[in-house]
Symmetry: C2
Subunit: 349 residues, 2 copies
DNA sequence: TCTTGCATAGAAAGCGCTTGCTGTCACGTT
DNA sequence: AACGTGACAGCAAGCGCTTTCTATGCAAGA
């Protein structure tokens, strides 16, 4: 059988209550007693029963981190930052929480199921990362869940995700995707580009929509007509960028620039351009978004919008742990920074 | 207050026992009763109390996935694959498990603490990914924990990690890092290279050691002296690859090839070479390891050893869930495949 | 008609911990 | 000398579920 609190108590010649208090350190215990208890814990190699503890205390040390795609560094980096602040092992004393990363794969159902699972576990906090899905029914369902979680005492934080009007309790750290998208396109327009292709992410995603809106706002501000044929939607992966670029090129071979939904997509775009015999940026400029670590290393280095993923994640983690004040109004906008590098240049003449 | 089983029972006019049985579906319940119960569950918006359930049933639906660095796609890809098989939401019926990814950051203490945390939660299974740390004391401590976990009924699987002799219960899916490393270096030797630099990962890591051993075996097999000055150790990141390459170049400017510990490091190596005015592969060939998604997109595309991360992860996940037979002897070796691409060529004359 | 047996439902005993409340003892106060 | 007053420690009542064991009802077999 496994060792229980009672066993430790017996060995240390104290009551179970005292052992519990030593372990939780939330009640005065004479140091001699404490020592005796700790020795017994050690000798018996006792490990607290988490479920029992959670049940009795009506709290748990689980913190859920929902990501759309754990294999994507965009989420990996944020998750790492969040987890580092969750404390978990190595964190500051006491708050030993288990930061658990849940991979929704971008599926609404999985997102909901994970939320239920976390609710079931009475999670201490939940952090949702990345763009939300723009489906009224689903958004409503998620908002309802978030509200329930909040009511049950779970702290809810959105990181890199727009605020949910129906769940105002959720603290939101939102990326300024619109502003970033606009900056990027204005940079290209400033270089002289007039025929820009845009590879958008999956439809029905807030991130996709906002970045695209920024792009269009820039075009509009400069009196450039937004030909819908110059926009293609796809997934947030390299393959999709490759195919979308070929498609854009087919539709309009005179393009001088391609703006991608993110860096990974931009990578695919670069590959497609090269395979089509076009030089970057000599023939076509390429821009990405996010500034993932590899973006500076590709050749030519990618012009992109740097999002402070680590900083935002860390902040979200701290807020989730109640170690930092939420922003006023529960909403903060995190801006990106335009990184001009080698993949963009003046258009060919 | 939150809704409890008893509330549902009252509403459905049955006993709590019956509700529990309906929910778990492990006992015959008349279909009319079942329906009544399910309706009540729905109407009350009841969510099972996980801790209570785990306590009573002495089992939990948590599955731990330990990774060294969640921000590194190497681990992200494996974690995604494992989680997809854990079932979690979207998985096959019934087994709704919570696959939790724990980021150790490569720290031995955190690894141990996470294992304790998972033990505390009475995890259903634990999957450890990536290379182990070669410290006798730590390895022993981990092995002891794994044995304890196993005794407590937790399934233990190692994925991309060498078997632990002290914890033979743990199923191991090991990458053939040695063989891959050897293949890679033999490829370069075959091209005519004789002065190869090697950027190894952190010391005291099995992955590092095995890849390096493969490299040396290849050198040895071809009668090439292994000058220790041609090997530099560093972290598994781009920066480290950049610096190590400059160091290698300083030590021996006549190098014609650089073999990196992994693709990310290789990326940094490429950058350093370019910044030093050297062409790839014209002046210096570069090879990586892992074949991460971006490796085919960098210019020139990286010669590397492809590791079937997704397949291995999926298999580990299935084994952890008891849905696939463990390999005979509890150990399986997963081979890599040499991918020859543009970053390697004949040495300059 | 009286068992037997099966299918189903309920009663109740925990699972291992936390915590409010109740002592107990040793001091410092009046 | 009687009496607060802290500082500790223990009792015992749950926390919300699972599961064993025990009814109960009813159809079928003897």
């Amino acid at each position: 059988m496994t060792v229980t609190l009672a066993d430790v108590a017996a060995r240390a010649q104290v009551s179970p209550a005292t052992v519990s208090r030593v372990l939780n350190g939330n009640y005065p215990v004479a140091s001699s007693t404490r020592e005796r208890v700790l020795r017994a814990v050690d000798e018996l190699d006792y490990v607290l029963n988490g479920p029992a503890s959670s049940l009795a205390a009506a709290t748990s040390d689980l913190v859920g981190i929902l990501v759309n795609d754990i294999a994507d560094p965009f989420f990996g980096i944020m998750a790492a930052a969040i987890q580092s602040e969750i404390g978990g092992p190595g964190g500051r004393a006491g708050g030993e929480r288990l930061g658990v990363v849940c991979n929704t794969g971008g599926s609404p159902e999985r997102e909901l199921t994970y939320l239920t699972l976390l609710q079931r576990q009475r999670a201490a906090a939940v952090v949702l990362t990345g763009g939300a899905i723009e489906d009224t029914a689903h958004a409503g369902a998620v908002a309802a869940k978030l509200r329930k979680l909040h009511e049950a005492g779970t702290r809810v934080v959105l990181c890199g995700r727009p605020p949910a009007p129906e769940a105002p309790e959720a603290i939101a750290l939102t990326f300024d995707n619109r502003g970033g998208g606009r900056q990027l396109t204005e940079h290209l327009i400033g270089l002289g580009h007039r025929r820009l292709g845009y590879i958008a992410g999956p439809e029905e995603r807030t991130t996709t929509r906002h970045r695209l809106e920024g792009h269009r706002a820039a075009l509009d501000a400069h009196g450039i007509e937004d030909d819908p044929r110059r926009t293609v939607h796809g997934r947030y992966d390299r393959r999709s960028g490759y195919e979308a670029t070929l498609e854009l090129l087919r539709r309009d071979p005179s393009l001088t620039a391609v703006v991608a939904a993110n860096d990974t997509v931009a990578l695919g775009a670069c590959a497609a351009l090269r395979d089509s015999g076009l030089r970057i940026p000599g023939d076509v400029s390429v821009a990405g978004f996010d500034d993932l670590p590899f973006s500076i290393d590709v050749v030519p280095a990618l012009t992109t919008v740097r999002l402070p993923l680590t900083e935002a994640g860390a902040r979200a983690g701290r807020i989730a742990m109640g170690r930092e004040e939420p922003p006023p109004g529960g909403i903060a906008t995190v801006r990106g920074e335009l990184m001009v590098r080698g993949s963009t240049g003046v258009p060919r003449t």
